[in-house]
């Protein structure tokens, strides 16, 4: 048995190592597969489904699906793009995302994906859910209006910070990120230096008093679309 696995993404031959996911192999090959819950330093979660690809004709999450010899992966087809666009659209209307005044604007992965997919305004009706803010911690705040339940903070706190500050509670539309305390974030051992605070793809978990310190034009996605850092590899 050889030590490499060969498969194709959109007809291009890609080689990877056994145990790699489609996303990992694609990243290494400079092929961008959009994602929101996946992050290199975290274990895969497979929850957002933005990374959906067709594997031998069936939809799969690229961030959790291991590669196999001879696999035929479709990433950049009209059908897949339409699925992803719908998912992103739904994420927007499910929360309260007001990019025009959000401090994460320009550095937000959800917003950057919307731009990459050419979404100017969602096609689905806004749900305007009632969500709360937890500003009790002196240095960090949670704005659940912007939470997309990607679970990055949950995993980072548990696996990197070794703290277990965050956990999901509730089901379906009621699902939300809770904190590991009787009441509020202030009652946990969360700190501004935690990796959990850095990994949020949107503006749901933020350091306080940073705000708009980076001017328009110098923010992460002001000039380069999301994914370009992988594509230029």
């Amino acid at each position: 048995m050889s030590n490499t696995i060969t498969f194709t993404i959109d007809g291009v031959e890609v080689t990877g190592q056994p145990g790699q996911t489609i996303m990992e192999a694609a990243d290494a090959a400079g092929i961008y597969i959009p994602r929101l819950c996946a992050l290199e330093e975290l274990s895969p979660h497979g929850s957002c489904r933005v990374c959906t690809v067709m594997v031998n004709g069936r939809p799969q999450a690229a961030c959790t699906q291991p590669i196999a010899d001879g696999m035929v992966v479709e990433n950049d087809t009209e059908q897949i793009l339409a699925i992803r666009r719908d998912i992103i659209d739904m994420l927007f209307v499910e929360g309260n995302h007001f990019c025009m005044f959000c401090e994460k604007s320009g550095n937000c992965e959800l917003q950057a994906l919307a731009y990459r997919f050419g979404i100017a305004a969602p096609r689905f009706p806004y749900l305007f859910p009632k969500r709360d803010i937890d500003a009790t911690h002196p240095d960090i705040f949670i704005d659940r209006n912007r939470c997309i339940l990607c679970g990055r903070c949950v995993r980072a706190s548990r696996d990197i910070d070794g703290k277990n500050v965050f956990e999901f509670v509730g089901r379906g539309f009621e699902k939300r990120v809770a904190v590991n305390a009787e009441a509020n974030l202030a009652d946990t051992d969360a700190a501004a230096t935690d990796e959990a605070v850095n990994v949020c793809p949107t503006g749901a978990l933020l350091k306080k008093r940073v705000g708009y310190a980076v001017p328009v034009g110098q923010r992460k996605y002001d000039h380069k679309p999301i994914g370009s850092e992988i594509e230029k590899k």
Binding site: F141, K208, Y212, P215
Partner: protein, 479 residues
């Protein structure tokens, strides 16, 4: 049925007809005007929406309040948040970048108002056919002027972009300072066009001045009335659009109060609620609601200040004061002339700032001790703007009170409409074309921030309702 309808018009007038200025005029038995009311839809919702939001978000968030002068709200909220983070004095770079942003905003707003909205009235006359009396008509007959208007607006907008990051909904001003300086390239880009811009300001000033002087006899009385005036002024009495203390004068120019710290605004100003309008009516506490209403905006600022600290605008101010007989000016239509004096002043200030090396400084942010409450004031293009906030220990806004220029000018606009209506109706319960035109012109003098007031074509969509002594609608016309 008809009566029911009538009542609804009077009691709940603020139906959300976007883009229409609504006026109702009440007559007595002899068909004399007893009262005129301009119904304005105001976005009070913000004061609730902002509750619970982190304070540093407010200067950006508040720009959603008003699409017409977002930069003024951005800066006024930032000034309040400076105080919240305990900063009483910004770094020179931050202060000057903010000022540049503010003068850029004033410049583009005044240019837009003059060229797009007012020049048709002045060039074609108030009674001209509205089909010609609009910016398209100006473009056809005076193409150079229309182009100037567009170029001046663009110049101001580019300054906003260079200081705030974007032309609309920028993020430049942050609590305690600014997030960028002005690059040499940006500076040189603006300097290149500056002389031409100032030349156009002078030309606009000439149009406004000549027009006013030539038509003084008819303008003097048009929608005019004696009133108090309010603005901020610098400590030495100079006009200062960005920062200063409150001064109020009466119709003769006598000071009612002076150098009141913005933080104490509520000790000199009060707001009255009236049943028929969601918009509040502010008044000078000392004089009470009946006599204490006042005007804000360019006319009030020129009246309130002792001098202007840029040479050409100061010369223009002196000419203005001379023309009004060295007295406080209470002529509504004089707003246009004074607005253009400020346009020139903004241009001169932009010049002064662009030549200041502090704009390339790198010390952008100051720090201080957190406070729980702050109020700040600046002079927006349309007039005095007040932002007042309380912030809790968790950094969340718990209270916001905003008084915008159109609210200050609420009573004056009602007075102007009443005056114009009285002059035009005299005994006949009928809305004539002339009345419609003149009501429009009178309201426009105040440059209210109605969405209709900046209608793209410069034509103000207006609905006028005439009510008799029994409250019945006797006439209704819309433009």
């Amino acid at each position: 049925m008809a009566n029911d309808k009538t009542k609804r018009v009077i009691i709940e007038p603020v139906t959300r007809v976007e883009g229409h200025g609504k006026v109702s005029i009440l007559l007595d038995e002899k068909n004399n005007v007893t009262q005129a009311r301009l119904h304005i839809v105001e976005f009070r919702g913000f004061e609730r929406f902002v509750q619970g939001r982190p304070y540093w978000e407010v200067p950006v968030l508040v720009q959603r309040l008003c699409g017409i002068c977002p930069v003024s709200h951005h800066l006024c909220a930032a000034k309040a948040m400076d105080l919240i983070v305990g900063v009483d004095k910004l770094t020179p770079t931050a202060e000057k970048m903010r000022r540049l942003m503010h003068y850029g905003q004033t410049y583009q707003s005044h240019a837009l108002h003059f060229f797009h909205l007012v020049s048709p009235d002045l060039l074609f006359g108030f009674d001209a056919d509205p089909a010609i009396r609009n910016v398209i008509g100006v473009a056809a007959k005076f193409p150079d002027l229309a182009v100037q208007g567009v170029m001046m607006r663009k110049y101001g907008q580019e300054i906003i972009k260079a200081t705030a990051g974007k032309k609309i909904h920028g993020t430049g001003a942050i609590p305690g300072g600014i997030n960028k300086n002005l690059t040499i390239e940006e500076r040189d880009g603006f300097l290149k066009d500056l002389d031409q811009q100032l030349e156009w300001c002078r030309a606009a000033l000439k149009i406004a001045k000549d027009y006013t002087l030539e038509h003084l006899a008819e303008l003097a009385d048009f929608g005019s009335f004696d009133s108090n005036h309010l603005s901020i002024v610098r400590e030495d009495g100079a006009m200062d659009l960005y920062d200063g203390n409150l001064r109020a004068i009466d119709a003769e120019g006598k000071k009612i109060f002076d150098q009141v710290d913005p933080r104490d605004y509520h000790t000199v100003l009060q707001e009255e609620v009236r049943s028929w309008s969601y918009m509040k009516f502010p008044f000078l506490q000392k004089l009470g609601p009946q006599k204490g209403w006042y005007r804000v905006g360019p006319l009030a600022r020129i009246n309130c200040c002792d001098f202007i600290d840029t040479p050409e605008a100061e010369a223009a101010r002196k000419e203005f004061v001379e023309a009004t007989g060295n007295k406080t000016c209470n002529v509504t239509m004089a707003y246009h002339w004074t607005r253009i004096i400020e346009l020139l002043h903004a241009g001169e200030k932009i010049k002064e700032l662009l030549h200041d090396a502090d704009l390339q400084g790198t010390d952008l942010l100051a720090k201080g001790e957190r406070r729980g409450e702050a109020a700040a004031i600046l002079e927006a293009p349309r007039g005095t703007l007040i932002h007042h906030y309380k912030v809790n220990e968790d950094d969340q806004v718990t209270m916001a009170n905003l008084i915008v220029s159109t609210t200050h000018n609420n009573e004056p606009m009602n007075q102007a409409v009443r005056k114009v209506a009285a002059d035009h109706i005299s005994g006949k319960a009928e809305i004539t074309e002339g009345l419609l035109n003149h009501v429009e012109v009178a309201i426009r003098a105040y440059d209210p921030c109605l969405s209709c007031a900046t209608h793209a074509l410069g034509k103000m969509p207006l609905e006028v309702t005439l009510l008799n002594a029994d409250g019945q609608v006797v006439d209704h016309k819309a433009t």
